[in-house]
Amino acid sequence: MSNTSATAFEKARADGRAALVGYLPAGYPDVDGGIDALRCLVDSGCDVIEIGLPYSDPVMDGPTIQAAAQHALEGGVRTRDVLRTVEAVAATGVPTLVMTYWNPVERYGVPRFAADLASAGGAGLITPDLTPDSAPEWIAAADEHDLDKVFLVAPSSTDARVAMTTAACRGFVYATAVMGVTGARTTTSDLAGPLVARTRQTTDLPVGVGLGVSNGDQAAEVASYADGVIVGSAFVRALLDQDDRAAGLRALAALTEDLAAGVRRA
């Protein structure tokens, strides 16, 4: 059976709601702590999990995720630790993707990474700095290992590029709702709706909207026009803001429940 994230979106759609997609970097605060945190997201209502691969040069990330990833790297997290994290989280049955800048994958070896990700139970990859037109090697490897290929569309993407991108996606399409880096925002973007509409004209894949959502109300708003609500920085923030791990997990659970309620409210 193909372990694609699409199944989770379908299930949510069947429930008449959007899916909640939760992101946390692997290795924060350490590898096992990261696994606990990700499992907490699963337990508290996330439908799909994105595991960030910490990278030294994260050009699409805002200060929150940068800080967590840097902490993870300084703690010695390795690519193999990310795969172990995938394995532990995917074991819950929730579709689990890796979100990664391209160089660590290229360095690991693209076919090898695809193989190891698949055998860890991972659903696929989200690639913030790899667009389909630069991704032939990844596309081939993903297809060979039956993995999701989640590419991004942006408000600045031309219609032609949106079409080209969605045609290459599998699992879902990641719509970056603001022109900007990751980071919780107090208001959602008015660029998101039109982008989702433009995206839907090119594909039947579910469209997840990311960047900026930090509470249930925002989640509800996004859920009103998107198939998935992607939350990252807000989760990291919840962990960063707490001094001890137990408190961090409690905060994470509370936020996830708020967001899960949000996607059901729309």
Partner: protein, 409 residues
């Protein structure tokens, strides 16, 4: 010197394909959010380079404001010392003291043509930041420069210079808080302001079209030098040489000579404490392919593809990547790249200072150091008419504190 008109930009056999690939290197590994801007820039650049009015305007600004064509200077006392003719391309005499002004004037002129009124730039030691602030002042544009927090502290004078020129300097705390992180931050900023802001990239690296575009704006170095050498000596040089950081001054020199098969081409990389120590920035020597800042190229990286901090006494060469065209030129064997240690570079800096009264930038001193070895060998083979043309990419004023420490002055 008579003025040597800029030859019309000619393609070389080592140019990128239309998607920015130099053989296995280059391309565009960028967030989708920036692709439209990069496409727009690619189109605007190609359109501009095909427009004689733009080319003429760029040349006029370089000439009247920046002081090009820079002189091709025969360093007679140095030539006597090594037994071969040493020609120095005097980019150190350009306005703001380095080849970098050509690139920023080109990019800013293009920005103006594209109707944008704001530029951003990254900077390491501050050279490209000062150049960008200068170009912005010249064109009356707003300018923000991203600079690692560590560098902001180390390079207070350059920060002041940028402020004087009216630019805003943003200190970047993330990562190692140095050049590569300043690039990351500038890219992040660009994503959110791309509709009205141009990113003036500081070297011939990064995603397509930057490696080719920056080269086009820097290639006056080689176009001029080639014409000057022919005019003054009637022959092409036996060898040409440049230092290689990101690679803009080097590719700017090389481009005109790439298809001159009899001209040997050398690139000298920052060998830091010595490549064997691991504390260096000799990216091509390390020859480890990867993706950094939007292009596939050679990258200093660990087993997991995490970027490794580079080390060089020269701030302007202290970068863990290199322009993709250089990776291609290295792989094809057209250019020979060799590492030069900090100590070799500083010896060359001292030698040129005492012998010719020219204090080079430490970056350029890498080229001098390596090229003098080449010249000695060529001189022995061919006699004193053997000619080595070195790009003196910048002046050393900015490096005096480093020199004071190094030489205990």
């Amino acid at each position: 010197m008579t003025s040597t008109p800029h030859a019309p930009a000619r393609a070389s056999s080592y140019d990128a394909d239309e998607r920015g690939w130099f053989g296995d290197f280059g391309g565009r590994f960028m967030p989708e959010a920036l692709v439209a801007a990069l496409d727009e820039l690619t189109e605007a650049w190609q359109d501009a380079m095909a427009d004689p009015a733009f080319v003429a305007s760029f040349e006029a600004i370089c000439r009247d404001y920046a002081g090009t064509p820079s002189r091709l200077y025969e360093a007679r006392r140095l030539s006597d010392k090594v037994g071969a003719r040493i020609l120095l391309k005097r980019e150190d005499l350009n306005h703001t003291g380095a080849h970098k002004i050509r690139n920023v004037l080109g990019q800013a002129l293009l920005t103006q043509r594209m109707g944008k009124k704001r530029v951003i730039a990254e900077t390491g030691a501050g050279q490209h930041g000062v150049a960008s602030a200068t170009a912005a002042a010249y064109f009356g544009m707003e300018c923000t420069v991203y600079m690692g927090a560590v560098d902001v502290k180390r390079q207070a004078l350059n920060v002041a210079r940028m402020n004087l020129l009216g630019a805003k300097v943003v200190s970047v705390d993330g990562g190692s808080a140095t050049l590569k992180d300043a690039i990351n931050e500038a890219l992040r900023e660009w994503v959110s302001t791309v509709d009205h802001t141009a990113y003036l990239f500081g070297t011939a690296a990064g995603p397509h079209p930057f490696p080719s575009m920056v080269r086009d704006f820097a290639r006056g170095i080689g176009d001029e030098a080639r014409a000057q050498c022919l005019e003054q000596y009637g022959v092409l040089p036996d060898a040409i040489a440049a230092c290689v950081g990101g690679g803009s001054n080097a590719i700017g020199l090389y481009q005109a000579f790439l298809d001159d098969e009899d001209v040997a081409i050398y690139g000298f990389e920052p060998g830091g404490d010595g490549v064997e120590t691991g504390r260096h920035a000799a990216t091509i020597h390390a020859a480890d392919s990867g993706v950094l800042h939007g292009a596939r190229t050679y990258v200093l990286q660990d087993e997991d593809g995490q970027t490794i901090e580079s080390h060089s006494i020269s701030a302007g060469l202290d970068y863990p990547g290199v322009g993709p065209q250089h990776a291609h030129l290295a792989k094809t064997g057209r250019v020979t790249y060799l590492p030069i240690t900090d100590a070799q570079a500083m010896d060359a800096l001292s030698l040129l200072s005492r012998t010719e009264g020219i204090i080079p930038a430490i970056e350029s001193a890498h080229a001098i150091a390596g090229a003098l070895d080449v010249a000695k060998r060529l001189g022995e083979e061919k006699g004193p008419d053997a000619t080595v043309l070195i790009n003196l990419s910048g002046r050393g004023d900015k490096d005096m504190e480093t020199a004071m420490e190094w030489f205990d002055l």
